[in-house]
């Protein structure tokens, strides 16, 4: 038997002053208890029984189908994404999947949602057969609030994959994933969404030859946005898996990536097309109507004496075009990233990074189009030297960030400039179990009508005590902030980690933090401040009965 089991308590406190001021809101549950139980039982070499139970006492949903829910019934508790109850008994090539499963069949079929149900994953020789069915969300009644409960329809899901795979050589598979809402499952029903139904079929092929890889997937979806709309014969869709309605869409998606990977040089090309009407219940936040192409590379250069490399470069450049079906206004995005690291010698190293993201589109009836361009450049030299007792590290980091935004009415571009400078000193004691660090940071943001300055000093200390049974880490951070000509903001954060290894298998981990923030006179009431604290403490037990 191996794995872990544990219980963690989180307590949160927020005190605001003056009394009645609500300018800062709680950002954690007041009390939360989390349980985890993830042992794997092994019986002989062929049979294993892994558990994956993770659940919380208090629902904390702010987005998605359970947003706002406070009182759950049993079905909602079981299917709430904050909780997982999974059991996967496996005998040789046959796996039974029970309870909550987050199954990713492919990038275009299903993969982002957890489903509570039952299924199998069978892998005899090179064959692959997967099937799973269950419920991804229970019906949740709409409630105007406060707090508002968005509401959701109960959604049933089915998915199947049939394929052939030789690991490291190839994979060919056909996927089918379906989700269907139950219209009568919420009363009152949600106000922002209708009961839906969607099916996607995809064909997947991956081939690996030496250092070269080729991966491709093509998919078609039929998605009904409102199953209460009349059925239609004008759209064929993916019959017989779904009956088209007047609100049904059927569209395609595809992706292709190919490249070469080796120890010192990688290069790859990725193409992704998502049709405007492509939608799948397996990826609820997938952005449709786009074509992306990206070129990635990574290489090492400049050999050192030890035979390694002094220089490492990771770069990518790509473009995304929206609105391929012309149902919206065309938008173009250019995305480029570069990270260039050089270790000149035993003392000096330099890291340079650059990021560009440009967005351009017409803006409808306005005289000027939308154009937002974000540019970031960072330079980070580091110097290290070793004394008799201490190894020293001094690092300076400077980052310049520029954000240009065009006004669609006047055509004028406003620039938003941000400068960040950080100086860090880390002495590492060679003869003591002590690791402190010190840093100073200056942040300046300049945009018309607003100038923000932040000055931070922080220090942390790591050490082990009680014969290394207890690991301690403490940190203090003070930030002085200033907005325009208003008086200063003050922020003090103190935190502490205590990790106590009670026995070889049992540990007690505690994290305490407190945060005090006092505003300047930029807000009313003048002198507003808050103190928030958090305590997280929990026991973890490691199972390990291996002989």
């Amino acid at each position: 038997m191996s794995g872990t089991a544990g219980i963690t308590y989180e307590g949160y406190g927020l005190s605001r002053s003056p009394s009645g001021w609500t300018g800062y809101t709680a950002r954690r549950p007041w009390n939360q208890v989390r349980f985890n139980f993830t042992p794997t039982f092994r019986f002989g070499k062929d049979f294993s029984l892994p558990f994956n139970f993770n659940f919380a006492a208090v629902p904390t949903n702010f987005a998605g189908p359970y947003a706002g829910i406070k009182n759950q019934n049993f079905g909602q508790f079981i299917t709430n994404p904050v909780n997982s109850f999974g059991l996967n008994p496996k005998y040789k090539w046959a796996e039974l999947q029970l309870g909550t499963q987050y199954l990713k069949y492919s990038d275009l079929s299903t993969g982002d949602i957890g489903i509570f149900g039952a299924g199998v994953d069978l892998r005899p020789k090179t064959w692959r057969f997967k099937f799973f069915t269950g419920i991804s969300q229970e019906g949740v009644n709409y409630f105007a609030g406060p707090p508002t409960v968005t509401g959701a329809y109960k959604r049933k899901n089915w998915m199947v994959q049939v394929g052939n795979e030789l690991e490291g050589k190839y994979l060919f598979a056909v996927n089918l994933a379906k989700g269907k809402d139950v219209p009568a499952s919420a009363s009152p029903p949600p106000t922002t969404i209708k009961p839906q139904e969607g099916v996607v079929i995809s064909v997947l092929g991956n081939v690996y030859v030496d250092k070269i890889y080729f991966k491709g997937e093509a998919a078609q979806s039929t998605f009904t946005k409102d199953v209460t709309t009349p059925t239609t014969t004008l759209l064929r869709g993916l019959k017989p898996f779904i009956e088209p309605h007047t609100s049904s869409l059927t569209d395609f998606a595809g992706q292709l990536s190919l490249g070469r990977k080796s120890t010192n040089f990688d290069i790859g090309l990725m193409l992704k097309y998502i049709g405007a009407g492509f939608q799948t219940t397996g990826y609820p936040y997938l952005q449709p109507d786009r074509f992306d192409y990206t070129l990635n590379t990574r290489f090492n250069a400049w050999k050192n004496k030890a035979g390694g490399y002094k220089m490492n470069v990771v770069a990518s450049a790509g473009r995304r075009v929206n609105n391929l079906k012309n149902t919206a206004l065309k938008a173009n995005q250019f995305i480029a990233n570069l990270n260039w690291y050089t270790q000149f010698d035993d003392h000096w190293s330099l890291n340079i990074n650059y990021n560009n993201f440009g967005f351009q589109s017409a803006s409808g009836t306005n005289p000027y189009g939308i154009k937002n361009v974000s540019n970031d450049l960072g330079v980070n030299p580091t110097f290290t030297w070793t004394g008799t007792k201490i190894m020293h590290l001094v690092s300076l980091s400077y980052n310049y960030s520029k954000y240009d935004e065009r006004d669609v009415m006047t055509g004028l571009t406003t620039s938003n400039n941000t400068h960040t400078a950080l100086l860090t000193y880390v002495p590492t004691y060679l003869t003591k179990d002590l690791s402190p660090d010190f840093s100073v940071l200056y942040f300046y943001n300049d945009v018309p009508l607003a100038k923000v300055k932040l000055f931070t000093v922080s220090s942390a200390l790591n050490t082990n005590v009680a014969k290394k049974k207890i690991r301690l880490r403490g940190q203090l951070q003070y930030t002085l902030g200033k907005l325009n000509a208003f008086s200063n903001n003050n922020n003090l954060i103190a935190s502490c980690n205590i990790d106590y290894k009670i026995t070889k298998k049992l540990s007690w981990n505690t994290f305490l933090t407190t945060n005090y923030y006092k505003y300047g006179n930029e807000i009313t009431p003048v002198g507003a401040n808050y103190l928030e604290s958090m305590c997280r403490t929990g026991f973890q037990y490691s199972f390990d009965t291996k002989r």
């Binding site: 922002t192 009407g277 990233n337 017409a362 669609v408 941000t418």
Partner: protein
């Protein structure tokens, strides 16, 4: 006497049959791009028929969607369209989009048909909707044609720009401030859009989207008509590498999610993940 009665009845019948139905078409200037949504939202289209004191009997509505040059791109198939019955009390008859533009009985042409089947929308453009009540038997006009222009362009939710997907942020810098940037809603809206920015911590045993759908956000802030936010997290990032997922929810002037029938129905942009830590290895 019999002849006189017959003559009067004939005149009455003729008057009723040929009586001009006065119609008044009310259509939103910028209706939802998703045509199937028109039927479920009564405020999109209203057609008021008035028989001028004479009850409106049975009729069908001939409806056509035209481009600005007059080309008909979609029309109701009158042979299959439902026969409608007017207000027998003599008052006005009020019809909505589901009666006037029943998608299940409409024919679209060429690229418009293809776009509608794939996306549920027509290509972004200016259009005109023309309606006219007709007699069910021979489609003879029962009143004047009413036309109203409208503009269709579907909304595009913001695209998250910074932190970019899987960006690794320095914990010392991130503890002081993190810059968030996103593109605006396209096309530009007549009333300012409220952008609700949310940042969720991804716990050890969670997938990113699971964290988004289950955790309380560490940052949940509504911002009016701006596309950048400087977050002072006031958090201590002690782990070697912490994972976060962030998204933008776009809200209209009534604080309701815009673009409700597209995608997730929450008006939330595709979320992306970023890391805070020192490790260069991604999970």
């Amino acid at each position: 006497m019999k002849k006189i009665i017959l003559t009067i009845l004939s005149i009455c019948f003729l008057f009723t049959a040929t009586a001009q139905i006065i119609s008044n078409l009310v259509l939103m200037a910028k209706p939802p791009a998703q045509l199937s949504e028109w039927g479920s939202r009564r405020e999109v289209l209203t057609l008021i028929l008035n028989g001028q004191g004479v009850p409106v009997t049975q009729f069908k509505i001939k409806a056509e969607i035209k481009t600005t040059d007059g080309t008909v791109v979609g029309s109701v198939d009158l042979a299959r369209a439902a026969v409608l019955t007017g207000n027998q009390a003599g008052g006005p008859t009020i019809l909505f989009a589901s009666d006037v533009l029943p998608l299940e009985y409409m024919n679209f042409t060429g690229k418009y048909k293809s776009a509608l089947q794939k996306t549920g929308k027509l290509p972004a453009d200016n259009y005109t909707l023309c309606t006219r009540p007709v007699r069910p038997a021979d489609y003879a006009p029962l009143g004047e044609e009413q036309c109203k222009p409208f503009y269709l362009a579907s909304l595009q939710l913001p695209i998250l720009m910074k932190p970019y997907n899987e960006e690794l942020l320095d914990p010392k810098k991130a503890q002081t401030a993190i810059l968030f940037r996103w593109s605006p809603v396209v096309p530009a809206q007549t009333s300012p859009v409220t952008y609700r920015i949310q940042v969720f911590e991804v716990l050890n045993n969670q997938s990113p989207v699971q964290a988004l759908r289950s955790n309380q956000p560490l940052l949940d802030k509504e911002l009016l008509a701006v596309t950048q936010y400087i977050w002072q997290p006031q958090l201590t990032f002690v782990n070697e590498k912490s994972k976060f997922i962030w998204t933008i929810q776009s809200l209209d002037k009534d604080q309701k999610p815009i673009n409700q029938t597209d995608g997730n129905g929450e008006g939330r942009s595709e979320p992306i993940v970023f890391f805070i830590g020192t490790s260069t290895k991604h999970d």
